[in-house]
Symmetry: C2
């Protein structure tokens, strides 16, 4: 590995792709769309759970559901370019993102993202 200080404008980590301006725009849109859909889903479920509360255990079930969803969303939606292929792979695998939404990313990135999705599918099987 060459010394980063010798080539200060070169991305210092091997195997981590750089993201062009247009790719960043595509990534941001896809990321926000998936997050928006997930939040919408949680909001709908919370409204439904709340409307059906009859006793205190239902109340604390709702609290627990919200806490777990918040933690899971915080863990999943990590918008660092070093993490994005993993994030998109996970979202693809979970059916929260369609591959078309990533159209315009470079083929090597798409392959990495697909690999993550396939790995997770295999791991879950």
């Amino acid at each position: 590995m060459s010394s980063p200080s010798a080539t200060p404008n070169t991305y210092p980590y091997q195997n981590e792709p750089t993201w062009s301006r247009s790719e960043k725009a595509i990534a941001r849109t896809a990321f926000d769309a998936a997050l928006g859909r997930e939040l919408h889903e949680v909001i709908q479920e919370a409204k439904k759970m709340a409307s059906q509360i009859q006793q205190s255990s239902d109340l604390w079930d709702l609290e627990h559901y919200l806490t777990e969803r918040r933690k899971e969303i915080d863990r999943t939606y990590d918008y660092r370019y070093s993490r994005l292929t993993h994030v998109f792979g996970k979202l693809l695998y979970e059916g929260r993102l369609r591959e078309e939404e990533l159209r315009g990313l470079r083929e090597d990135k798409l392959n990495s993202i697909r690999s993550v999705a396939q790995f997770l599918a295999k791991y879950a099987a």
Copy 2:
């Protein structure tokens, strides 16, 4: 203080009143009634908050509200006889319990409960 082992059937702590069977029944009923009212209030508020959720911040506000209420309820509703005068004093002070609901407790207990309520009112002022 006399040795508890010398008088094994005597309540071993000074200044802590014993609770007769009828007092225990009154205490349990009053305690459960106040807790039931408080839970009902939280359930109604949660349903209202949930029905008004429009964006994710409203969702996490609901989670935060539920967590805080659960912790506060857990702290307040402590059904140990050694804690009950304090619990009832706090509930009286907060208007969550009416003094009539404690009718039948011995006067010394009622005085202790009123003292706690008065102390909290003074402390809050």
